[in-house]
Point group: D2
Chain length 475, copies 4
């Protein structure tokens, strides 16, 4: 083979008999960036197969997965119906440039738009992209456009909206920005109603939603820094929320919180942008988690579970006033894989599936069952400071056993590590457990089981958690 | 079914007998954002099926595609080998969270890393993401991190690097930024060596690469605004290039240009970031188009054709010094679909395929053949101001017939429109043609045929172009 | 006279007999920008002469001045000693370029530097400029330089640091930024301990300085958005304070506040920048108002009263580590009028004067006397919600008589307007009163009498205030 | 004296017998910031007295000053008429808060406004401030306000507009920004027509103002990065110019340059902001240097010589549309020393003086005389590469004698150093010479003699320069 120019590429075709694990680890150490989250714990786990609520390692050991790819796989690993939909599309129209139309894109947009119209009473439109961060970027474009160029927004402490640069600017963790210089569009972060650890030291029973009053106070005078009462204009164009914080530790706000907050925002003409990337698609018991809180968003951003972790697809829904063709004209944004046919085909099948079965009831029932099991565990283990849940988004906050309050990151790290060993026994069989950690102090086990999990599997999950807690923090 | 909280979702399942075209258009007008590029021309074309070099509309009319999803489908629509690889992965490990490892990710990173190592003589690592813009964002993180927080970079006039906010800041078109307020990290745009329309009014024969001298002049004194000679430090951390401009109109720089430019950058310790999103994977005759120019990049960004338009996957390769785990530590960035298993499986198969066949020779031969046909057309149509090509990236610049130089956007628009009618006859059969427009003046037909196109299909393409030109601009 | 090029300038020399008031008002309406604060009230007052604590209008009516050019004229209008110093310098070295030295600059820097050294125990240096905002800009350069380029800082709600763009970015009022687009270096504003209207609704008696705890909370985890505990680095490089807020309404913080705050900052290596532009030079009873609070600043910014409102001079004092010639090298900044000889000469005389008399005792005594008079007024007028004072910085907060708490801007506007009529009678003589308004709600009369005011004049001031209050808000 | 609180201030009153020079130097090294330009050369020169064109050191040696405080003292050191005006004001109204009016402010604004009205045919208004940078800041506010928040502007390579942060962002030298992190509002710098060293390598005779064409080219298509032709909107709100560059080396543009540039700007609705801080007040032979170029600015910024280096005063004049009370409402900006009475009084006297004498003719004659002398020197010294001048702004570009072109910074440094020794003999008397260095390569002696210099003194200046050149670079 000729050798034009430089060296001809040299992919050194990997030996077709599959690489042994050690070889893989050597290659990974040499050629893979460590900048992602793989090396948060060592050695990184390698998985080879998945199905339903289980994922299997190279030795084919089953791990019950209670995080489901950070809630991207709500409908179970290798869901037959969705896999089949993907294969069908591969066989018809696997590719088409995003400047042309295809049936699935249109039907999908219409399904989402009609649903929102009925629920919120607003007409709106959908704009697709690929990956949650890119949908966040699109939403920022809508916000900046609607506010004639304002690039400052409010967001929550503990909030997470992605890791592109603009998404990092509105994501609370300073660690995500630290290496990357100046962020001129950094959000102003507002305390989230994390009542178990109220930032203001209040008690939920009698706080009167003091936290919203604190936010509202910012608009009292121009000297609070964000508002000019003379002209009724705010320096901040929008408030980005996760109704239930994801990375922040599946924190559930108290009743009335968002209603009161939304009233403040509406009065100051500040847009409410609802990030449903993690909590959407029935994770929190409703299609959109915000439906739990009696609030109407101006923009919804979604992604992840829309395609059940298959071909990525994300998007924004926005009120007509923000996204109609006059104000958000052709070419306002673009992405090669925007509305890609494989993604839209799977997504459309997802929505049909949701239509055909009562996911609301199902998630309410399974979630309640799981949560009551967690409450039982809390009664038995002092290392559990708090458990809570809404729909199938559940949390276990691990604390020092001495006070069941002080965050105990070291203990939770050990729990997760032990869970990944794959040696927990229940009823004569051996399992591992896949858990994810979240929370401001990284001491919260955030549980996002498949919505398709069976009650037996929930029992198994609780038994495995019991084994784990007993092993790591018995008293 | 109960109706908790708000309305229960109301997807109003689309009637299972497929919607008629008119119904689709009504829904699209109601629920789809027009902010993407679909409505650049009206009515938008709807496609239903694709295979090889052809894509078919709702009436099953064949369209020979000469843009292949902006060069994302280099290996032909519905490529059987790659489709098969995708299906295999769907059946084994379709999903796995990005904090865990799987075989395909590792093998893919190793293949890319080893190839670069051989070609450029540098060890490096690969970081995956999903969508080209997100890989650009990752590259910006690498650049900012390496420069201790500098967020200013050079980029080219006519350059395109994506549409996230940070990518828009380094993409030349002001139209992409206009609606969105302030871009504090806007690139400084440097004229590209677009020799057919030399920005400096020079002639390629005797210009002595004056354009690089003009760039180098910026470093002469601190008063040119970008450099402090006392300490040898530049205000700009990197130069983002497309070796051959994509959206800019498949403009090919003259010999020696990049070598001379790279020498200036190296002397000022400014990183060279090579965006191969559109030109990578043999579009320009080499795996990376920069291989045509005898230059070693610090960072390569890639996407699109890596998965042939199937499950999106993108990535960056960077020199070890920029990306080793010390400087780009775990958690430096993240994305849910980073290194997703479906994408990596397809990508790995792509690379194996490239290994097994001599794409370099193939693209050189087909490209030369196609280009000679275009040159023949240029001789016959005064409306063609310029044709050029490298590998399978070809361009036809449409100009006023009066001088074969003045950009003729209206004519090219008509050409594209006619092409989409699907009524061009060759040898008794009826075809359409899918063409893409690029160029600073939107008067360039940028040709990106499938690399798998046959010589007969190239002949057909030339005949269809002839028909078109004859119809639209006969003299 | 010849007329080269365009028109020769046409100053139309104002008729040497002075313009009548109406003529002046006509010219002002035609040629003066209204963008300053002159037209906050109409018609703007014109003054013609000043002396001691009095300023006189065109009809030679005396106005007792209780604002003294926003505390720039601490030593009385037309102070003979300082005026004389200025004239002496005019006669010797009125001009010298700022790249050369002159005696007064050196002696002045040494005087300020030695004083700080004794008081705070740090060696430091002084950098001069002209105008408070420009000194703030210099301080921002010191901060950014010391933090390797960080441009984000904390500042207080209600804080005021000037009106250049960068100073506006750290000044709380959004009104000052609203017209001017994006401020990428906008400060994060922290509630000031304005105990009369505690932002947290606490009571000073038992709050335990809850407000500092709230600030300290921001450093608890990375998810509060400003700190990365793993590396101990903050996103914010400094905290800009006015120990007593000026424009904010002469608000005096409670005991212990700044000590507790400074401890938080020191632990996170965040610089404390002390803006003494309005409160410096004994306005608050000490040379620097921060001396009242047992805290050592990293940087002091000063201006205004340094030259008693004569030739402007401002400056920064900074700890040696921040300003030594290694880190803040020659040419780091510059200003034509930096260290101008007229300004430094007056300033040096100011410091000699301060050395020779016990201003600390004097301001303590006069301030206490004035404050006790204000307290008496408060007892008699329900429209006075709060009076307070430290040194010769005093405040009267005007509120609705119904609750003596609700801010009553309209009433205070009327008070100030009536005061400017110049028709208040005391002991058979007729006076006006010059008052300034401050406060978050623009309902605070901020009193900054000349430090040289006599006890008799204080009595007169109290009588005039009594007349005014009686006229405007008798019950 | 009591010691309340901390230490009582400790100014350690400098011994009243004046400090010896060594003592001064010790104090300076200890307490003065070196961040200004004093320590560009060592040891810094100390001056003690000044008069007319001469400034005297501690030993009373006379130095003929050819830089006059960077053109701030156009009317001669200690100008009796202006000094007297200052003293008169000291004796009547030395102080008045900027929210009140005084006669001199109004008359001064009217004089400037009427003059501009006659010359440019536009009505406009004047806004005062203190220090050139602050006036630049005010002009930026006008620009941002008029463009609904755009903060990007064009400026020239070699341009200088001050050293506040926002002024540094539009000042070309990267050295001024390097230490201070990110500048999100950094100007795009355009090559200045520095014909002696044409950035494009053209010759003035036949270039056809190629440089303006290059600038105009940026607006050809959206892909040049600054303009959206579809809507006729530019990313850049204004172009900041010095008609003759000051710090840039007193570079004079060729005929027709600004007319052609202004036409481009007007067509794209980009404001032309004329910085006259250094060249205003007849330095370049007209009140405003732009009058030499037949162009009408939208905004003029001025400072320095307005008060002849006495009490600083600066300002902007702007067209009514940009500054009328509707768009630039009360409180849009503010500065304590805005329109200070001492400054306005001197400035008004300056304008009266300019009215009474024909400065245009005077500066033309003296400038021509001086320039012919410089040309004679150029003929005799190969170290002089270029001399040029307009009005009383003159330049000598010092180059390597070998080619009279290569910039020779080391030689010019030695010239300046020798000049400051004060040992040059002419006609039996001993003199020094005060020279300033400018230019992109810091190899230009920028001559700004007092406009009041006599022809005899010009002769002396030429003789002294001759002595110097003979000493340093004889061949």
């Amino acid at each position: 083979m000729s050798n034009l120019g430089l060296v001809r590429h040299a992919f050194s075709p990997p030996a077709r008999p599959p690489l042994a694990e050690t070889e893989m680890r050597v290659l990974e150490a040499q050629y893979c960036s460590y900048g992602d989250t793989v090396h948060y714990s060592e050695p990184a786990k390698i998985f080879a197969r998945c199905e339903g609520s289980f994922i299997y390692d190279l030795e084919n050991r089953p791990f019950l997965d209670l995080q489901m790819w950070y809630s991207a796989v709500n409908f179970g690993y290798a869901n037959p119906r969705l896999n089949e939909a993907l294969k069908r599309q591969i066989d018809t129209l696997p590719q088409v440039a995003s400047q042309y139309l295809h049936r699935e894109k249109i039907e999908l947009a219409a399904a989402i738009g009609r649903d929102a119209e009925q629920k919120f009473g607003y007409k709106g439109r959908v704009h697709f992209n690929v990956g949650g961060s890119q949908a966040i970027e699109d939403s920022l474009k809508l916000v900046r456009n609607a506010s004639r160029g304002k690039s400052l927004v409010f967001a929550f402490e503990g909030g997470y909206h992605g890791r592109t640069l603009a998404a990092s600017a509105i994501t609370s963790s300073y660690r995500y920005r630290r290496r990357y210089g100046h962020f001129g569009d950094r959000a102003q972060f507002i305390p989230f109603p994390y009542c178990f650890r109220c930032p203001y030291g209040k008690k939920r029973e009698d706080c009167g939603l003091y936290c919203v009053d604190q936010f509202a106070r910012l608009f009292d005078t121009e000297y609070c820094g964000v508002f000019d009462p003379q002209v009724g204009e705010a320096e901040y164009a929008a408030f980005y929320i996760e109704p239930i914080q994801g990375t922040g530790g599946y924190v559930i706000p108290p009743p009335g919180y968002f209603e009161k907050l939304a009233a403040v925002l509406e009065a100051r003409r500040i847009l409410l942008v609802d990030d449903e990337i993690q909590m959407g698609f029935y994770r929190a018991g409703k299609l959109w988690s915000i439906e739990q809180f009696n609030v109407r968003p101006d923009i919804i951003v979604f992604g992840k579970a829309l395609t059940n972790g298959l071909n990525p697809l994300s998007g924004v829904w926005a009120r007509e006033a923000l996204i109609n063709p006059e104000v958000f004209a052709p070419g306002s944004t673009h992405s090669t894989f925007n509305a890609n046919p494989l993604g839209t085909a799977v997504a459309l099948e997802t929505l049909r599936m949701l239509e055909e079965q009562d996911y609301e009831q199902m998630t309410a029932q399974k979630g309640a069952y799981f949560l009551s099991g967690l409450r039982e565990l809390k009664r038995r283990y002092r290392v559990i400071g708090d458990v809570d849940g809404i729909g199938m988004a559940l949390r276990i906050e691990i604390c020092e056993p001495s006070d069941s309050f002080t965050p105990a990151k070291a203990i939770v790290d050990r729990i997760v590590e032990e869970a990944l060993k794959g040696d927990l026994e229940v009823a004569g069989k051996t399992y591992g457990l896949v858990l994810d950690i979240g929370g401001y102090y990284k001491n919260v086990i955030t549980l996002a089981p498949a919505l398709t999990i069976s009650f037996d599997e929930i029992d198994l999950a609780l038994q495995l958690l019991d084994r784990l807690l007993h092993r790591v923090a018995p008293d």
